[in-house]
């Protein structure tokens, strides 16, 4: 259930973060821009647009006892975890 919401948010967050990363690559900071956007502006804009375009889909989750705050916080925490795992993977690879 929650993963469906997570997937919907990331479907917007990832392209936004990559686009920001491309802009950042001009300055040579592609990865840093991608990850920061992924955890900040990209995430916030994704949640905002989801609320604008699919507000009624929140009731899909409300009916299963999931509040909006719980969905957003859980998504953010999972993103932080993803970023940490990604950084560890990069460090191990380097």
């Amino acid at each position: 259930m929650f993963l469906n919401y997570y997937k919907d948010i990331q479907l917007m967050n990832i392209p936004l973060s990559l686009a920001a990363g491309i802009l950042g690559s001009i300055e040579g900071i592609f990865l840093k821009t991608v990850l920061i956007t992924f955890l900040t502006v990209g995430f916030l804009l994704s949640v905002y647009f989801f609320g604008q375009r699919k507000a009624h889909q929140y009731f899909f989750y409300y009916n299963k006892g999931l509040s909006k705050a719980r969905l957003v916080i859980s998504t953010y925490l999972l993103n932080v975890l993803v970023v940490i795992l990604l950084l560890i993977a990069i460090m191990v690879c380097i």
Binding site: K54, H56, Q57, Y58, F59, F60, N63, S67
Partner: protein
């Protein structure tokens, strides 16, 4: 079954300075279906979301089984909510939604096997029509363990077939859940809800009937008539209205509290909403215009003779009405709109297209049927009314240039749908409404001809004379099983009939049968008799089931006096009136009842333009009244066989002195019961 209770108290809500809800209270138990009505913006959805817990309201108290919850939706198994617009993710299949949403394996399997869902399991919600999607959403919401279900506009934009399915679904779940429903399809909500509430000016008021919804401004005061009168089709003359009042309607059992009375069982073969509206309009428009009545009677006669029938499909007719009133954008067939539609395809667009295509197909098939009926109605022996109807139908078909589609046996192409949609909803919409009015009238005529065929009714004969009376052979009460028929003539030479007989001998039933017969004859309908001939009267007033009026401070006697005064005023005003009294002056002592009955009956007998039927137990007045030439006496006989009253229900000439009150009282063993009560057994 365990019962649960949801109570909502102290709900207040404002948008800025605008107060939407103020101190709302409502409750719902397991098994309840609470219908919530209110105009747009009255706060219905807001209230549901406050109850659900996703919208906050200061001081609100939401209790479920006496436990207070701030946000009930966060506690599993308490409450589920169907929002006004679709709430399901658009990009995943129905099967995946079921697997995700429904925890119970039993419910999951039953949903996967549901005949309406199974064919669409691999589709996404975006691929379903509006009705299919709404039905699926409701199934999902009901599959939860929630004790209370809040449904916000479950019928919105849904075709009648799915409305019925959704109603059945709600009713089948009411044994274990409580429902609060709000929807502008008020008739659907009215038909299933056991508590009805109206939100108006921030307050919630209890209502029980459509009349109250009208009084409180939610519904328009009167429904518009379906039939549109015009010059060619004869309309009811407005200056020849037959007078009848509420008390008489009540006595006849035609309309009860402005709703259909028991008498309506006879017309149960009228199935469509439009047909019932036309029937109601006819029943509420009696007239004394003989040529109009003869035209209607001859039309029914024509239907019987030629066995004209259309056998309308109720669901198809509702779909047609829905389609014609739909605001869905018209279909277009140019490349630009095709590409635009393909790019912007969404649920609403698909639903609109489905409504239009179903509506057009059903209308086309109805018009095919109607053109055949029109041919039949233009027969040589058809009355003027039916000839006008037939030419109106043919004129519509030729004017609308749809004859090619009506004669074509191939299904319409997409381009045909576009053309027909334009004709039906744009170019000829008003004329089409008139044609639909005719279709519904044909349905009513079919039903009336069945009354003659199946219920032994007959068509009345009318006498154009200004004087004269009524001849009836084989008159019976249409709601009694195996009724005893009676012959009766009044007004030829004598216009006042005094009816006597023991209790339960059949006096009141006869008076009702006669009154119903007279009323139906003044609508041009078949009557419950083997034969009837009557002249036209200008009104009827009956006093059969009169009760006291506590609110106005009227005792039964005063109510009777007022009623007699009302009858006298009507006679003074309209002259040719039928007056029926069952047991005159039953609300006073024997001595005064005798004097008053004698005085009033004598006074009535002075009026020779009207008919009077009066039943009485005071047989002593009969001897006094025998002197009056225009009064005659009929009675119902009865006899005692082994202390049990036996009735023949046959009316005879003369006066009955029989008394059955005491034997009936003795047979009920009331004294024994009182003796047992005294001895404490």
């Amino acid at each position: 079954m365990k019962s649960h209770e949801l109570t909502v108290e102290g709900v207040r809500f404002s948008y800025g300075p605008l107060k939407i809800l103020s101190d709302v209270y409502l409750s719902c138990r397991t098994g309840d279906i609470v219908g919530l009505f209110g105009r747009n913006g009255s706060g219905k959805s807001t209230l549901l979301q406050i109850i659900f817990g996703t919208l906050d309201s200061p001081d609100k108290i939401i209790r479920i089984n006496n436990k207070v919850y701030a946000q009930p939706y966060l506690v599993k198994g308490l409450i589920s909510y169907l929002p006004q617009f679709t709430f399901l993710p658009a990009n995943i299949s129905l099967k995946r939604i079921i697997m995700m949403y429904v925890n119970s394996i039993r419910h999951r399997n039953s949903l996967l096997e549901d005949s309406a869902v199974k064919p669409h399991l691999q589709k996404t919600t975006a691929e379903l029509s509006g009705g299919e999607l709404r039905y699926f959403e409701i199934l999902l919401v009901l599959s939860s363990k929630a004790k209370f279900i809040l449904l916000d506009e479950p019928f919105m934009g849904i075709e009648p077939i799915y409305q019925e399915k959704i109603k059945e679904l709600i009713i089948s779940n009411r044994g274990v859940k409580g429902f609060i429903i709000t929807d502008h399809t008020y008739s659907a909500v009215m038909s299933i809800s056991n508590h009805k509430l109206l939100i108006s000016k921030g307050r919630v008021d209890r209502v029980s009937t459509e009349e109250e919804l009208k009084e409180k401004g939610y519904l328009p005061p009167r429904q518009a008539a379906v039939v549109h009168s015009n010059q060619e089709i004869p309309a009811i003359p407005t200056n020849s209205e037959f007078e009848i009042d509420k008390q008489t309607f009540k006595d006849l059992g035609l309309f009860e509290d402005n709703r259909n009375g028991a008498f309506f069982k006879l017309f149960s073969s009228v199935k469509t909403i439009g047909g019932n509206t036309v029937l109601m309009n006819m029943l509420l428009s009696p007239t004394y215009d003989i040529s109009f009545l003869e035209n209607r009677r001859d039309s029914i006669q024509f239907f019987i003779k030629h066995k004209v029938e259309m056998r309308l499909n109720k669901v198809h007719m509702e779909m047609i009405d829905y389609y014609l009133s739909s605001t869905a954008p018209r279909l277009r067939d140019d490349i630009f709109h095709t590409i635009q539609g393909w790019l912007r395809s969404n649920d609403k667009q698909r639903n609109d297209e489905h409504i239009i295509k179903s509506g057009v197909s059903f209308l086309l098939s109805l018009l095919k049927q109607l053109s055949q009926v029109a041919e039949l109605l233009s027969g040589k022996d058809a009355p003027d009314y039916l000839l006008a109807v037939s030419s109106r139908i043919e004129e519509f078909i030729s004017e609308s240039r749809i004859a090619e589609f009506i004669n074509c046996k191939v299904d319409p192409t997409p381009a045909d749908f576009v053309k027909l949609d334009k004709v039906f909803r744009n170019d000829k919409q008003e004329k089409l409404k008139t044609i639909l009015g005719i279709v519904y009238e044909i349905e009513v005529f079919e039903c009336l001809s069945a009354l003659v065929d199946n219920f032994h009714f007959s068509l009345p004969e009318y006498s154009g004379a200004k004087e004269g009376g009524v001849q009836l052979a084989g008159l019976f009460h249409p709601l009694i099983k195996n009724p005893v028929a009676n012959d009766f003539t009044i007004g030829e030479t004598k216009n006042v009939c005094l009816l006597t007989g023991a209790n339960m001998a059949g006096k009141s039933t006869f008076l009702k049968s006669f009154s119903i017969c007279m009323y139906l004859a003044h609508i041009g309908f078949p009557v419950p008799a083997q034969y009837m001939k009557t002249r036209a009267f200008k009104g009827i007033i009956t006093t059969i089931n009169l009760s006291d009026n506590i609110s106005e401070g009227h005792s039964h006697f005063l109510a009777e006096v007022k009623r007699i005064k009302q009858s006298a005023l009507l006679i003074k005003d309209r002259k040719d009136i039928i007056v029926v009294f069952d047991e005159l002056f039953r609300g006073t002592n024997v001595k005064e009842a005798y004097e008053a009955s004698l005085m009033i009956t004598s006074a009535f007998s002075e009026i020779d333009s009207s008919l009077f039927l009066i039943s009485t137990h005071i047989t002593e007045i009969c001897n006094e009244l025998k002197k009056q030439e225009n009064i005659f006496f009929n009675c119902f006989e009865s006899e005692l066989q082994q202390d049990v009253p036996v009735y023949s229900y046959q009316m005879k000439s003369g006066i009955s002195e029989e008394r059955m009150g005491m034997p009936i009282l003795r047979n009920e063993n009331i004294l024994e019961i009182l003796k047992q009560a005294k001895s404490g057994k």
